[in-house]
Assembly symmetry: C2
Homo-oligomer: 219 residues x 2
Amino acid sequence: MLLSQTEENYLKAIYSLAYANSNKVSTTLISEELNTKASSVTDMIQKLAEKDLVHYKKYQGVSLTEIGQKIAVEIVRKHRLWEVFLLNKLHYNWDEVHELAEQLEHIKSNTLTDKLEAFLEFPTHDPHGDPIPDREGNIKHHNNTMLSSVETGKFCIVIGIKDSSDPFLKFLDKLQIQLGSTLKVVSKEPFDNSMLVETTTASISISNQISKNLFVKKL
Amino acid sequence: MLLSQTEENYLKAIYSLAYANSNKVSTTLISEELNTKASSVTDMIQKLAEKDLVHYKKYQGVSLTEIGQKIAVEIVRKHRLWEVFLLNKLHYNWDEVHELAEQLEHIKSNTLTDKLEAFLEFPTHDPHGDPIPDREGNIKHHNNTMLSSVETGKFCIVIGIKDSSDPFLKFLDKLQIQLGSTLKVVSKEPFDNSMLVETTTASISISNQISKNLFVKKL
DNA sequence: TTTTATTTTTAGGCTTGTCTAAATATTTTA
DNA sequence: TAAAATATTTAGACAAGCCTAAAAATAAAA
């Protein structure tokens, strides 16, 4: 089945929203995700339903069919592999790769994704710490420990981030916090839940808003 | 200026046709190149003329403006760099890269092309032997010696091909003729202008149609 | 439970890029 | 150079994806 970029973007949007909102997704939610109007979403949903890519009953919201889900995961796979390429090979910063990957994920080829994956030596996670689905669409979800829940005095490694917004990524760049950075929680401030953290190079204060958005692995 | 993929493809088509046909290009020629109808071409030409990307007077054919030419060369640059990537890094065959590069050349980014070029270590030619324009759009054209004009007994190296059609590329693959292959012209047949040629591994008969399409450097 | 507010869908319209068919220009040929 | 052939342009239509405005359905509040 050959889909337009737009159709692919709808599937991807539904996929990520369904993941965050337990399956059924509303028209409005999709329209916000894609910066379109609800009426446009309805149009496209009906088109996708005709192609058996989504389950749809009027006024009841949408969910992906098995095929729709499979395609969505393939796009996610492509997106994340390209992100790795851009970061590891072309030396982009991790806050720059997303926008470009949004374009590259739509390149059509039977062989490209697998060749790219092999060239990158089968990475398991993208620069944001999100897992890369394998050829069959299987995804290994990493654990959900946030920096905010690490105890005082303990060490941990940054393995991913929850909020991939541009300002947040730029902020992390400034703090010199990267995937794989080792952090030590020196102290916590009960008043505002901020914490004092040591990196290998500096000692920094991190607000609760930040620490709730950093996935870590405890050491 | 932000152009659609379609607009970019028109500029590229006009560019390569103008190169082969001394500047002015006819509507029909473009329609054949792009597999559309002449009327569609007229529509698009008028749109491109409004944007000052082509010179156009009714019934008189089109040519690229300076800006149009600049954009066309940028697309060619991107196309050829991606071809090198696909061949050198992802290990595609040279008859497979063109179609994929047709997609990749439309990826929009201010920085991607230059980063890709650096990653590939500033290649000067693509897998078909065509020169890669530099950042400023300068192109080094290679010499025009065809295999058909090499004298009996002389050696030469394959540096490019004229006709990049899929069957031709596949045929070269089968003959194990690649960029950089050394050939020796053993004998020529005056009757049909075919020639007997020795590669490092075999001795093959090459028709005039083939030998007229292979750029070589005499040794 | 009935009214009010919100969400979703329908209806009709717009743009891009394409098409066919008809009209107009240019080129070729006799 | 006039008639015939060919090339180009115009006119009108269509699909994809989007929009606004209005109608219909659902959810929330009184």
